[in-house]
Symmetry: D2
Subunit: 135 residues, 4 copies
């Protein structure tokens, strides 16, 4: 499962553009981190909302994939993000979780924290729906 | 207004990373386009959902800004995206619109189309809330 | 189609509790109205958000049903509502529309207006996903 | 605080129509229950989605109110609900929680469980934004 997810992740060029990496893969939970690169910012020099979205959505999607049969892939049907605080810091870390698995729809959430040294702050909360598709 | 928005946009390094450009600015409506760059894709080589989110959210935000006093800026409080079709094609184009202006909250939507030559297809629909903040 | 939807609607006791009625059924668009009954209010005596949600969600669901085969029913997978103004007036009217039909997921929106005489005001905007299920 | 919330709740006629009651009030967390009344159902005789929305939204709103100054009330700006399972059982119970308090926006979630005897099942998950307003 770990291999399958890392191999799929490696094919997502957007993840490389953003410098994102998989930190951990467990059944129903995937963690992805990304540095707040000079090229990932908004006009006040903190992380663009799209960076939180990108890694939150991807972490949630792969969390869903851990609960699916081997011949499936996953697509985001919809995702809602609440932005709680500016994405200031060195790194963003997204923790995606499965709330309810299912054959047709998988309900997921993700929390995105801004991390600087030992401090971390919740900056975004996502809730959405993943759809299994045959690979 | 046009200048103010283009100047703010130019400071968003994420927009440059994604190759995004402002196509038009009108009261309550802003259009942003982005090529589907080799580095903006997911594992099936179409646009990553985060590209639709990035330009849809930004177009909606600047649409909100057109309705605000000069000393204000705008932040996304929350945004929901429904993904309707794969982002296949040459270019994505996001049209952000204000549904309801307000002093405290501005309700916005955005449609994202994939464009190839004269064909265009609706690939994402966004609905969210922008918050004015003093600049 | 009209009969099928009216017959299903008649079985929804919540719609009767709220005094809701189907105003019109057309392919991809269903309109439902409800008086703002004395028992449908929040603490400031205007319509409770749940009334806008109830008729907006139901109008969107039946709009989706108009695009499905006869042996299908429809369930709400998820729905997001932005509340734009207090639900003050005599009647709420929800117009549900299909944005994108599909075999697995149907993307819908609904607008809810408060209507008093000839005046009407947009009070809520919904965007969500309906799922076909076999009857 | 408890009195203030119970007094506001008592003025919401929709809550009485649905038979809803406040089960508990604590800082940042409010629990509301409602029987699945004969008049609160959809066409398959389980709870209408609007019942989950009504008590989930209200529990989340009062959870937000516990974190506000005494002269404030709260309004829902937006709310998203994912429906995870049919609302079958005797009673629905909504647990509303504050994720992030704030002077301008309060981010909240709610979980809705269907409860029958000792069994309970998560049937809906809500995530939204409450706005303080002066009373």
């Amino acid at each position: 499962m770990d291999d399958r997810i890392r191999s799929s992740f490696a094919k997502q060029s957007m993840m490389q553009t953003l410098g994102a990496e998989i930190e951990s893969v467990a059944p129903g939970e995937v963690v992805i981190t990304a540095p707040i690169l000079p090229g990932s910012r908004q006009q006040h020099d903190v992380a663009h909302a799209a960076l939180s979205f990108a890694i939150g959505d991807t972490a949630a999607g792969y969390a869903a994939l851990t609960m699916m049969p081997e011949d499936c892939e996953v697509m985001t049907a919809e995702m809602k993000i609440n932005l709680l605080a500016p994405g200031a810091g060195k790194v963003l870390r997204a923790t995606g979780k499965v709330i309810k698995p299912g054959r047709r729809l998988v309900i997921v959430t993700a929390e995105v924290h801004a991390v600087t040294g030992e401090k971390e702050k919740l900056v975004a909360l996502l809730q959405g729906t993943m759809v299994p598709v045959s690979a």
